[in-house]
């Protein structure tokens, strides 16, 4: 049997003496999509950052496809889309994609293709500064997807996006899943997340209080999860 796409084994993260993550452990098989839920400050961003190698766990270990996160080959296969777009305002769309692409070894043809896919070809040489919020978000998606990552880490990707932008992103995510990529996304917009997810995890003050299949109840009722598994407070 092959290694799991993501394996967290007893991950703790301390900020000083305060544990933002407490003994988080789960495994995700390739091709699955995990919706990471939790109230403000539950530790979603912290967990995603550790999975993406942006931050080290204080205790415990994370393995991506059986390898260390900080190994260069592992990171070459991760796509990261954080809260912010991660693009340079003074460079053009094409230059942005090329810069990041160069680090992953993405060819120029692929970049042109992606510009088309997110419908930015006509403005590909204008600086990103002039883009509207929607356009920026689309470019950020292209940036995170262009090297064909096998693991996608997305932190609240739907926040302050309008319906059209959400639709585009959902389409791309479905496509990625179909091609076998693993996806982890954190969000407060439970409805949007449930439509994509195959697994659901609930963090409560750093503890993973629920991890399992997405059920029909969750799809139907946004409050269900918190009521069932969340702490009373």
């Amino acid at each position: 049997m092959s290694a799991p796409a993501v394996a967290a084994a007893g991950v703790w993260k301390y900020f000083g003496d305060y544990p933002a993550l407490r003994d988080v452990r789960f495994e995700l098989q390739p091709g699955e999509c995990l919706a990471l839920l939790g109230r403000n400050g539950a530790g979603k961003t912290t967990l995603l950052r550790i999975l993406g190698g942006l931050s080290g766990a204080s205790k415990g270990a994370v393995e991506i496809n059986g390898g260390d996160v900080r190994a260069s080959e592992t990171r070459a296969r991760i796509g990261w889309l954080g809260h912010s777009i991660g693009l340079y305002d003074e460079l053009s769309a094409r230059e942005n994609l090329r810069t990041f692409g160069a680090l992953y070894g993405v060819s120029r043809a692929v970049i042109t293709e992606w510009l088309e896919k997110v419908n930015l070809t006509h403005v590909a040489d204008a600086p990103v500064r002039e883009y509207s919020r929607g356009m920026r978000q689309r470019l950020a998606v292209a940036r995170a997807f262009q090297h064909g990552p096998r693991l996608l880490l997305l932190d609240e990707p739907f926040t302050s996006l309008d319906d059209k932008a959400i639709a585009l992103l959902q389409g791309l995510l479905a496509e990625a899943r179909a091609s076998g990529a693993t996806i982890i996304l954190s969000t407060h917009q439970i409805r949007e997340a449930m439509e994509l997810a195959s697994k659901v995890a609930l963090l409560d003050r750093g503890k993973l209080v629920h991890f399992g299949e997405r059920t029909e109840e969750m799809l139907a009722d946004a409050g269900y999860l918190y009521r069932t598994y969340g702490s009373a407070a």
Partner: protein, 230 residues
């Protein structure tokens, strides 16, 4: 346990300091040229040795912190740095008083004086960097790195002194002059004895400060817990 250690060290250090003060004031001979003011020397140089020892401790524990990520080392590093700053201040201030009396000015842009000041500012910057970072883990890591940088350039400055004309007296201790006796052996011996006293004092400071640091960390964590409950 640590309380007892502190008390025991205190029980040794305090009498020693008092005895040294007595000896320095009344027993050691006057220096030929400078008269009584030279007695400040018995604090001037030992204070610097103590400070240098503290900086060294800070460097070692900073490296250990980066290697082991144990907050204990970070706590020792801050405590040592703060203590070191206090003793370096004693060195600077006694030097300035001395200078005021024997050179007639408070300060000269003499390399050794200047480097002493640079070190002081550098470690003061270390403390400021700490106070500016909220996340304790990040604070520990970044300041450990800065401490290593600072100590590296302290070493560079140490070497640089050798290439420079200087108004400040050169080495007088026989261990640094290669066995040449430049001062009365009794003076030199007294110097070592007082160094021991000051180092003991510094150890006490570090231990007390360490306790404070640990309590502070606990309080921080509890406060975060309390806030997370909301």
């Amino acid at each position: 346990m640590r309380r007892k250690v502190i008390l025991a060290l205190g029980a040794v250090a305090l009498p020693l300091l008092l005895r040294n003060l007595y000896v320095i004031m009344f027993l050691v001979p006057d220096e030929m040229e400078q008269g009584p003011i030279y007695r400040i020397f018995y604090y001037h140089l030992p204070a610097f040795f103590t400070a240098a020892l503290c900086y060294l401790t800070a460097m070692v524990t900073s490296i250990l912190y980066l290697a082991k990520k144990d907050p204990k080392y970070d706590a020792i590093a801050v405590s040592a740095t703060e203590t070191g700053l206090a003793f370096a201040a004693v060195n600077l201030i006694t030097g300035m008083i001395w200078g005021r009396i024997s050179w007639g000015i408070w300060w000269a842009w003499d390399p050794r004086l200047t480097w002493a000041l640079i070190c002081w500012i550098m470690y003061f910057g270390y403390l400021m960097l700490r106070s500016a970072i909220d996340d304790p883990t990040e604070r520990a890591k970044n300041s450990a790195v800065l401490s290593i940088f600072a100590s590296a350039s302290v070493a560079v400055t140490w070497k640089a002194i050798e290439w420079w004309r200087t108004q400040h007296p050169g080495p007088v201790l026989s261990i640094r002059t290669g066995g040449v006796q430049k001062i009365d052996p009794m003076m030199e011996q007294m110097l070592y004895v007082n160094t021991i006293a000051l180092v003991l004092l510094a150890v006490i400071f570090v231990l007390v400060r360490l306790r404070q640091e640990e309590v502070q960390r606990e309080i921080d964590a509890l406060r975060r817990y309390a806030h997370a409950m909301n």
